[in-house]
Homo-oligomer: 403 residues x 2
């Protein structure tokens, strides 16, 4: 019988307890033995809650109990999650986490400790919520050796962009609505600045490449500065705008990035709307495969955590994940990479529009009001595009086109 | 070192050899040891082909060689694939297949033999080509205990339906074009009658339920009889038409079916076009998750086969798949299940259109030419719908609406 301790009784923690209870019979059949929760760790008290009897405030009780073989970290944040998980691994317990910040910052070290002790450190729930993506990247796609990953990894910003695109809402109104619905925090910067997506793509890039992709080295631009006007023009040009975390390999170089991107209507990621996540994996063998589903939410995330618990219980005594090493993957300079860009000029001179567009290799431009026009450039480097913009009139927004 | 024998050197078989060669280094890193092909079995000769030296015509050579630990069956058809795979398992070799006919017909027995001998019988490539679906259903989704699966599982018919919908092509022209492109056989019945999709959904249903879902018991209707007119009306009503293999559980009853279905524009399966496959998995925990990609093709299918080979090589000496039992899952009668239907009447009396639609609980109907109209019914049983149609004028086509 596997005995589990859960660090943190917030939304996800209580979801994990709920799923383990609800699916008790099914899980037992799958694993061949019972999985029970022996402890819940939280600083708070929960009088009247069924977990009251197994609630502890001191992590040491759990670390010292040899009966506990799996700990589940769902507290969030790097500290003290890191210290707790590391201590648990060093005490011979496998660990599961839904905490992208922990994995992005400390994944290589924790994976190494787990490997050395024939334990497991699993984090399926840290990216894409209930969507299975870490495991497919590790297992089924192994033969494909993915050459590119493009993901809508943040539900909050995808919801906002959907409202701006479909309902012609302003950025401010979309944010207010996301906050009213509980999708966005009062301080929305982790979402709208792209920090959340950045940690997630760093995890996917690490799993895919087998080396550590440091999130601090990933150029990250959020959706701040995307206007409803950009949405309207993109629509006219045949594109949506999505916040994309990407990792790709070209000519032996590795690129990682978080940025809004123009996504054509016929692209697999285009229909991914509202709070949904979608992750497109490009491989030279398997072709393009997309995974789509709820990227967050109590039960989907808890379900992914429980799937990891089941996986570990089924495989006691062996490390199942290939994981990735502590060696850092070198990321190439994005500004030297050729691709097409969307260029929007607001308050420019109408007379110069065609000449300006032509200088980017664009045959034509689309105007939505006097002085506000946009075009898609020929493939060029960002450096070249910036140079062309340097002396131009008006307020210019440059967004790469996916592809 | 794992030594592999490949049964059949057709498209998939040569693809497996290609992927194993192309990805040699990567695979070795993943598995921790080399995987090499020791034999290729085929009745034909391949003079000048690199595999000429390892080609054998007699399966017994492979069965008798204790060095071979994994056989790969990519011949297609039930016989002699069944005899070869069974003999290999009995000789202590694990087996991988891409052969849906074999899995649908003999899966339970072959899985049992594998389990009893701590071997593996894996078939990721038998459904969805390069899309990982068997393994996610087994692993990551375990906590979700999927309550419904809706799949576009046949690329040929999806291609035809896409041409009929997007390009207003007739059924006959769409079939001719699919044949010209090599998507459809000269005798297209396995695709257009739904037999291929039926075997695939039976496999997914078996894996999900843990019991054998016999494909012979799954009510199966293909795309024959779907007209370009149906496509136009569906479009007007806000739907596409897709061939859907489904397995779902409601109130303790299990339903499986292959049938064309109306799919609303905002449904996750709607954007799955051309030869692509899409599989939507509904779970009470994970919510709706969709898997999308190339459902066929030499390299994607070979990639899925190689992923199974890698999985087995990594897990020598233990059965990794939960699989399903020989016990048959009882399927409930679909005609007693309430749902909405699309009803199209051709050559009916225009005067009676509104009254006829109203008898199905439909508020309105859509007419595209005199005497040809259609409507979406209120939820009702198929038996009730058929009864209402019994005495009606004109040629009537009834198609269920997904949901």
């Amino acid at each position: 019988m596997s005995k589990v301790a859960i660090f943190g009784y917030g939304t996800i923690g209580s979801g994990v307890v709920e799923v383990l209870n609800k699916k008790r019979e099914y899980i037992e059949k799958q694993v061949g033995e019972e999985i029970s929760v022996k402890y819940v760790l939280d600083l708070r008290d929960f009088p009247g809650d069924p977990i009251e009897k197994i609630l502890v405030h001191d992590v040491q009780v759990i670390l010292d109990d040899p009966e506990v073989d799996i700990v589940v970290e769902v507290m969030g944040g790097v500290h003290p999650a890191y210290e707790y998980v590391k201590s648990a691994l060093l005490a011979g317990k496998s660990a599961v986490t839904s905490n992208k910040a922990l994995v992005a910052a400390c994944g290589p070290e924790l994976l190494k400790i787990a490997r050395e002790r024939k334990l497991n450190f699993q984090f399926e729930a840290s990216v894409g919520g209930g969507i299975p993506i870490i495991r497919p990247l590790e297992d089924a796609l192994t033969a494909g050796d993915a050459s590119g990953i493009y993901g809508i990894l943040n539900g909050t910003t995808n919801y906002m962009l959907t409202k701006m695109f479909d309902d012609e809402m302003s950025y401010e109104d979309a944010l207010a609505q996301a906050q009213a619905l509980g999708y966005a925090e009062r301080d929305p910067s982790a979402d709208v600045e792209g920090f959340d997506a950045c940690r997630k793509i760093s995890i996917l890039a690490s799993v895919t490449s087998g080396k550590f992709v440091d999130y601090q080295e990933i150029p990250t631009r959020g959706i701040v500065g995307i206007t409803q006007e950009d949405m309207s023009i993109a629509d006219l040009l045949g594109y949506g705008i999505k916040l994309i975390g990407s990792f790709s390999r070209e000519n032996g170089k590795n690129y990682a990035e978080v940025t809004p991107m123009l996504v054509p209507f016929d692209h697999a990621l285009y229909p991914v709307k509202d709070v949904f996540n979608g992750i497109l994996v490009d491989g030279d063998v398997n072709g393009a495969i997309m995974f789509y589903g709820s990227g967050a939410g109590k039960l989907p995330t808890a379900g992914a955590v429980v799937a990891d618990i089941i996986d570990i219980a089924r495989n006691a005594g062996r490390t199942i994940q290939a994981g990735y090493s502590e060696e850092k993957l070198e990321l190439a300079d994005l500004s030297a990479r050729e691709r097409a860009f969307y260029v929007r000029v607001a308050g420019g001179s109408e007379d110069q529009a065609q000449a300006f567009a032509s200088s980017f290799g664009a045959d034509s431009y689309t105007e939505i009001e006097s002085g506000t026009y946009a075009f898609i450039t020929a493939p060029m480097t960002r450096a070249a595009a910036d140079k062309l913009c340097a002396d131009a009139e008006g307020n210019i927004n440059i967004i790469p086109v996916i592809g």
